[in-house]
Subunit: 294 residues, 3 copies
């Protein structure tokens, strides 16, 4: 345990045998489905691979309800002794996730906005800090929070469609990606590309995203899930214990930075989003979205 604590891991996620022993012990039992409103979670206990399919029409907005369900799903999988990896994808055509739900930030009480932001932090902590192998199968557009979710995974496969774009475009809406969005992007594409990308709020096409390392691989849309599962099997060929310690060694400083600044980060977000000028920007943006629809 000296070795583990050296790399700053307080206690490695120990899969509790007790929970599993209460499940029906049926050898032909291979697939389990968690029913949720905003996503389906299916675990193949033969391979140890779970798939989370986001389904929150029309654009998989990360609402408070969505975020809460997602975090609970991740925690369940993390605790499940049979689960070793998770693929995150969308069941909505042409959209991976459109990012944070602006409705949760506009015209809400500070209490609500704070609760919402805590849920955004939570989903990132759960994915970026997961002991599981995490693969994003990005089968559609992925701006802002959608991009954050993908960047928090271990590996990113994107559908090779020039219409799909991915990036942190916050500045375009007059808002600012917080420091841990920035840290996550830096850990993927490096500092210079992050500075350029965040200042301009750049949305990259799939091929640009491949070129600058924002995604690891492009593949035809209809091959994205088989490819994700095939990549997953390569990752699962590595002993979990060694891989998990290595992952933690890489990611713990970035995780700790949010953990030690969590409350002030919430307060900052609430203060910022409550400003008249920002509320006005969000209002205009929501009106624009409504006009597009009609």
């Amino acid at each position: 345990s000296g070795h583990l604590s050296h790399y700053g891991i307080k206690s490695l996620q120990c899969k509790p045998t007790r929970i599993l022993s209460q499940l029906p012990c049926n050898s032909s039992y291979q697939r389990r489905l968690f029913a949720n409103k905003n996503m389906t979670v299916e675990l193949d206990s033969n391979t140890g691979v779970a798939v989370i399919q986001m389904k929150n029409p029309p654009v998989n907005s990360l609402s408070l309800e969505f975020l809460t369900e997602f975090s609970i799903s991740m925690e369940k999988l993390e605790m499940d002794r049979e689960c070793r990896g998770v693929v995150i994808t969308s069941s909505i055509p042409r959209i991976f996730s459109a990012g944070l739900d602006i409705n949760e930030m506009y015209g809400k009480t500070p209490e609500h906005t704070g609760e919402f932001w805590r849920a955004v932090q939570e989903i990132w902590l759960n994915v970026y800090g997961s002991n599981l192998v995490t693969i994003a199968a990005i089968n559609g557009a992925s701006p802002a929070g959608g991009c954050l979710l993908a960047m928090a995974c271990d590996y990113r496969i994107m559908a090779d469609n020039p219409k799909y774009t991915i990036g942190l475009n916050e500045t375009k809406l007059g808002i600012v990606a917080p420091f841990w969005f920035k840290d996550t992007m830096m850990s993927v594409i490096g500092r210079r590309a992050t500075e350029h990308s965040l200042q301009l709020g750049i949305m990259y096409s799939a091929s640009e995203a491949l070129r600058n390392g924002l995604v690891d691989q492009l593949i035809a849309q209809d091959k994205i899930m088989p490819t994700a599962l095939s990549v997953m099997s390569e990752w699962l060929a590595i002993p979990d214990h060694a891989r998990q310690i290595t992952k933690s060694m890489m990611r713990k400083p970035t995780l700790d930075r949010l953990l030690t600044n969590r409350e002030s980060d919430i307060q900052n977000f609430v203060n910022f989003i409550s400003k008249d000028s920002i509320q006005k920007s969000l209002q205009l943006y929501l009106e624009m979205l409504r006009q597009r629809k009609s």
Copy 2:
């Protein structure tokens, strides 16, 4: 303001309305020219874009006088409510800037050398920490201090001419780029390329500079200013406030590192440059330059 202080910005540059209200309020008044000895500064108050053209023949050496004028010009633009971005370029053919003026370091008193070094720090603090959009239009050779000036900008466009080179070549002269030159280069081309580049004092051709990310874009010499202005308009499409907070989030730690070590950095430079061996190197270098001219 909690959000701002979170990103370490003590007080965002507030454009003082009082100053502007004292100017003639003429709607056709669009261009203002600041007259200086070593550069011209022209602000188009319609677009919000200023252009600084360096003109200190023969090679735009960064003399103490030049540095002081440049810093004052940047501060003026920073305070000017009508200015949102600045393009830095040269009016001298084939030279962007040859870097620090060696004459300011050779055979001078420690007081003079210290004053000179403080002015070098000041120009970097003003450009790297600017709230304006800063674009370098590198229309000629750009060694050492010239490269530093370009790297401190938000974006770099270089004339596509294989004869123009750019880089931090200090070690070739037997001197050492200080830590904040190094930090600036790392923020542009990453750590490995910086280590390699600084140890060997590499001067990159325009195409090499593009390949390793030292510049963002190459363009034919005669298109460099229209291209710079076109890129500038893309940057100005982003709301200033969000872009400035984002830029500060990226750059403040690097700026702070010099701010907290400023006096010791000056003392180190003065001690180093005063050494007999270094003075001897500079003397030989100045003699070589003189022989080249004749």
Copy 3:
């Protein structure tokens, strides 16, 4: 010296004139050979370039004896006024170095394992922190510790042979590269490639290693030594003093991180390697190696 201490160098390696004055002062005296069991070390005092040829058949395993000899050789060269650079290569066909000798970790006392790990730290401190120009001429496979040794150099030239691979493959054996292996790899290929590479224990082909920057140059096997010497002469064209300060400015924080955590790093390694599960993994691996041979 203010300038030096600024960059954190406590005392620059001063080549002791006293030692050299005791050597025969023969102007035709150009090559000196250090006889060792596990390597030959030859210094050309005309050029200032030493070559270390590792020869510990069958695969240049880094045994305790090997590591000790290597560190002593590096220290000798470092103190030798006539030596300015060193090329590290292998005299064993198709193998640069297979990395740490597993026999030193399997079934040994904690005292032995601790002594071994200290020797691994020492070789890295000596190479990564060397004032000499260090060039790896990677003329064969270079996994794990072999890759670390190459990454610790200033420049890497690899034989252009698709059969030769290089990388930190520790997780594949169920073990974990320690933080300073990770830091060294990050300093060469950046954070994202390191995270990916370490989690999967990726071994890169020569051409992949070139593409991601793990090596700087590929060359035909029979041209590797002339190329290394030619690259060395470029590095030696830079004044030693300026190059050494610059190198130290880049590398000192990484070196200091191990120096301040050296004892705990040893303790962590000993605790980790003593675990039953790890000993079992090493046993299986050693048996696999034995079966391959027969």
